[in-house]
């Protein structure tokens, strides 16, 4: 069972991992304003989604959940087998979380000078991502997972394909740039087309509407009613 929000990129990651492995699961849509007892008891520390419940036992934190999935259902491995390659995959997943995901979230809910600072950090992080994409990807290796199959880093980075544009629009800043990030944009295009991933992408208008509300709420801006 997976507890989630439709708009959450963290939940989406876990769904991609489950779908990649062909695991059947029940999806439960939580209400952000009225979290279920199940959610609050399954993740009392953070009270957040995603939470995976496997035979009643809860696991929280998207990256922890994905590694659990990979170790419990061994077909279609998400992480590489070799310890060094695994370390590299985990290193990049951490980098993405600390520098890309975190800065994007912070840029979304800030404005003025504070936002400018976050956007600058984010741009620098994207330069590093582009560098890594240039180093690892080519016509034969479409994904960070190697070859034609997605792997851990792709799943962790995948939210950028749908959410980055949305958050740019809502937050009023620009970070994505096909000219300075050609390899990254190629990777995004390929990721969006992966058969089990394509149908999961939420429509942009729906996401924009939701995140606009979230930003206004966080900034304490009151919309004219």
């Amino acid at each position: 069972m997976l507890l989630g929000f439709w708009f959450s990129p963290f939940v989406k990651r876990v769904e991609w991992a489950l779908k990649f492995k062909g695991i059947e699961y029940d999806y439960v849509e939580e209400d952000l304003t009225n979290k279920s007892t199940l959610l609050l008891t399954s993740n009392p520390i953070h009270k957040k989604v995603p939470v995976l419940l496997h035979n009643g036992k809860p696991i929280a934190e998207s990256l922890v959940i994905i590694e659990y999935i990979d170790e419990t259902w061994k077909r279609n491995p998400i992480l590489p087998q070799d310890p060094y390659e695994r370390a590299m995959a985990r290193f990049w997943a951490n980098f993405i979380e600390q520098k890309v995901t975190k800065s994007t979230k912070e840029a979304l809910v800030s404005q003025g000078e504070q936002q400018e600072k976050k956007v600058k950090e984010l741009k620098e992080a994207m330069d590093v991502v582009e560098g890594e994409a240039k180093a690892k990807l080519n016509d034969k290796t479409l994904f960070f997972g190697g070859g034609n199959g997605v792997g851990y880093v792709d799943i962790v980075l995948g939210w950028t394909c749908n959410w980055m544009e949305t958050i740019e629009e809502v937050g009023g800043f620009k970070v994505l740039d096909p000219e300075s990030q050609p390899q990254f944009h190629k990777w995004m295009a390929n990721f969006r087309e992966v058969p089990f991933i394509k149908p999961t992408m939420e429509p942009k208008e729906k996401l924009v509407e939701f995140f606009r509300m979230l930003r206004q709420d966080r900034l304490g801006l009151v919309a004219n009613k």
Partner: protein
């Protein structure tokens, strides 16, 4: 078997590089330790960790690994005896969850407590106490987070020692007192008694003096 070359770049006062030392020693892995000067980082360090330019970095047969938890998992998977992480996937997930909690939630608060004063500092102390109570919930009746012997989460929780030394250096009450956090208090004594772990704790006086200088000045200048 080929000659293994293992190098660890770290600093003596950093709980993060100390974590790696514990892991390597628990596994009986021979390694060369290189003390870095963070105000004058070596070309080797910058070459091995160009993205973050930070310690710790483990270099195994010339291949670098950075980020303390990533390194710990690499060490555990490369040298399989004396496992640090549990073998059961669920227990493993719990260890990773709480290790993340320590670094994402407890560590930032610990860093904050030494640079705040008065009411603000009191608020941070309350926050840390609350977080440590959560950790106690995970420890329960166990000898160590890892069970009978120390494991991943015990090693990750070494930042608590850093916090306690910093508090002592600043003349603050120790946050980990027996009344409020009995289980963690007992755990800490066992941790510091452990033959391997205690080799990987900075010498107390040196650490205290270092913390006095580092944090004393940031308070005095306010």
């Amino acid at each position: 078997m080929a000659e293994e070359e293992v190098k660890l770049f770290g600093t003596w006062a950093s709980p993060f590089s100390r974590r790696i030392e514990v892991a390597l020693k628990l596994k009986g892995v021979q390694y060369e330790y290189i003390e870095e000067n963070l105000t004058n980082k070596s070309p080797a360090l910058l070459n091995y960790n160009p993205v973050h330019k930070q310690i710790p970095v483990l270099v195994h047969n010339g291949k670098p690994v950075a980020e303390s938890f990533v390194i710990m998992e690499y060490v555990d998977e490369t040298w399989k005896h004396n496992p640090i992480l549990p073998t059961d996937p669920y227990e493993k997930a719990m260890a990773r969850f709480w290790a993340k909690y320590i670094d994402d939630k407890l560590w930032p608060a610990a860093k904050k407590v030494v640079v705040t004063k008065g009411e603000e500092q009191k608020g941070v102390i309350d926050e840390i106490e609350h977080k440590m109570k959560n950790l106690e919930g995970e420890l329960k009746e166990k000898k160590f987070f890892g069970g009978e012997s120390l494991g991943f989460l015990d090693i990750a929780a070494n930042i608590i020692i850093w916090l306690l030394v910093a508090q002592e250096a600043l003349g603050m009450d120790q946050i980990l007192n027996e009344e409020k956090l009995p289980a963690l208090h007992g755990w800490l004594q066992r941790l510091l008694d452990d033959a391997v772990f205690k080799e990987c704790v900075p010498p107390k006086k040196r650490h205290l003096d270092f913390s006095k200088v580092k944090f004393g000045s940031s308070i005095a200048s306010k």
